[in-house]
Amino acid sequence: MFWSFVLRAVEFRKRRLVLAFAALAVAATLATALFSVYSDIERKMRAQFREYGANMVIAPEGGSQTVPLEAVAAAERQGAAAAPFIYTVGRVDSEPVVVAGTDFRRAAPLTDYWRVDGARAASPGECLLGTAVAAHFRLHIGDRLALDGAPSVVRGIVSSGGAEDQQIIVPLETAAQLAGLHDAVSLVQVRADGAKLPAVAAALSNALPGVDVRVLHAVAETEANVVLKLRSTLFLLTALILAITTLCVTNNFSALVLERSQEIGVLKAIGAAERKIAALFLSESLILGLVSTAAGYGFGLLVAWWIGRQIFPEASAAGVGVNFGVFLPVTGVTLVVATAATLAAAARIWRIKPAVILRGE
């Protein structure tokens, strides 16, 4: 009897309820989408900052001019990306040029910002040229140059706006031979996860006595700053919008009860208990709340997924920013609000005098 009453009420006021449903579902959609984006934004933005290259360098300390090569392995054990570099002066046509040697496979994630014409890596007997070097010696991709007597084929031209523009970049072994170094390098560049940076730096300092582990403050702090600010902006906006839509939902549920004063009057006149009437409204609100939240949740995830796909296409392999965990909070908040709003409005049920209402006042 009770449920048939509820169902009939829903059926009879279809259009009105569809509108209430739409408003609620929109609120739930927005909440789900914003929370999904917010909960994932830090990971994604930090991934973006990886393109800044290294955020730490391991440099020689004191009188030493070199860093032991094992620093690379030590950094990799900490879960960081690390690449060794050797800098020395070589000669091309008896003219001095800076020669940089690196492990191209390891350096690749740290040198995303290089603008390269041709190949990004060179094997022994090959090299990359900085733009200034290429222009100075009038060399092009595929040309040969004699670096300290050893022939080398140009595989790519690098433009970075930094020191690389004036360097010949060769494989690490070639530069080590040229510089006469064994198991030692000039510098190790390290890119550690931004959030764990201080811990990794401390661990490396402990593991490698006699070297200088430096955190690149500008990179590390800008990253932390921007990620943090973006996160708090999103959080504040999400909270504000949630507060506003919640108010809107409250409004909607109160209206659902208030509109039906006449019906309440009739029900009371034929002898229904107030508690029973309140329960009737409450179950109607809860059903509406549950259905619209479920719909809004599904749609919100879709929106979050779409935003993730549009903005961070490269991150889609590692999940597209859909956070299924937001279902409980969103549903919880919606249902609590629906209950509270209905109950607040239901207080009127007790005050309604059937005779007054039915007379039309």
């Binding site: 009105r16 100075h136 706006g161 020191a163 430096r214 702090e221």
Partner: protein
Amino acid sequence: MFFRFVSQSIRRSPRRKAMTVAAVAMGAAVATAMLGVMLDIGDRVNRELRSLGANLMVTPKARSLPVEIGGVDYRPVSNADFIPESQVTKIKSTFWQLNITGFAPSLHAAASLGGRNVPVEGVWFKRQYRGADGAVQEAGLRTVNGAWKIDGRWIDDRERDDADFEAMVGGAVARRLSLKPGDTLTLFGQPFQVAGIISTGGDEEDRIYVRLEVLQKLVNRPGQVDAIQVGALTKPEDEFARKNPARMTPKEYDRWYCTPYISSIAHQIEEALPMAVAKPIWRVADSEGKVLAKIRGLMLLISLAALASAGLTVWSVMATTVLERRSEIAIMQATGAGNGLVAALFSAEVALEGAAGGLLGSWVGLLMAGWVGQSVFQTALEIPAILGPVVVGAAIIASVAGAAQPLWRALRLEPAVTLRGGE
């Protein structure tokens, strides 16, 4: 009569009208807050990203190839390429001068210290100079690298002074020579007092910085500068920016020239300083652009989602108010009001409510956007003044659009049917 009807309708049921207006206001507030934050966040983040340091490097057009490792030049004889110091401030007379947040000229030399060659740079720290428009402006290392950590203090070089022998020492050099602020070190046979120790983690840690004119005098290169670092606010590179300016049509070239891409700012600096080359430091410029583009895109999409839902909310509220008043419409029709008159009455009322809600909402939304800006970025956001009126207009349109369909439906129904209580 018409106006009395509308005003009566509003006065009769203030409670219900207040609820409608409040709902519209909420939609408008969401829209205003999102848009307000979205429109300015790019600029804010761009400024934050400037703490990465210079994104443009200006060097003399060199005849020989620089051979530098860690700031020490390995060329046999020093070459004579330079930028005249007197020309340096021309950087601030280019088209995008307001986007250039700082620049710092420097002269490079190396001093023997503790048995090793240490690079010494003569720089402006925070020099005041009179710009082209006569206003006093500031330039120097601190305007480009304001976020550097200093133990001690910055050298104060607002005025020229070539007898002020103070130095700022990079952290690695200081550790090697165990120097503290206040200590003395000797460079080129001249004792210098250490003002501060710089720790950045970068190349700067291996250098020593002194006043530009002091170094010019010591190495006998008066009026000369080797490089200028420039920090500029730029627009992220897009497809268009990667085109070769030399192959653009005149129209495209104008558009490129008048957009603050890093390449067009570099181009304009080269126009102002013909003896120099300006090159983007891609490590900073490229990644900066990518981060910025992501943030802008993200905020735009979120705003779109919020706008769509705000519009839907307003639309559904207005549809509800008309639905509730079907019997009223029927009575008007029964007493002889034409469809046009009824429609006009309701539209006027709905538009009025939309306007009231829009006004209230955009006011609240602006407050909220301001609050977000204040609490996250510590400065007020710059929100275009047009935003308020646009949101009010949108609220009115959404309200009328929401009311239109149920109104149309109600008008077509026979009054008798509605009044009997049926569909």
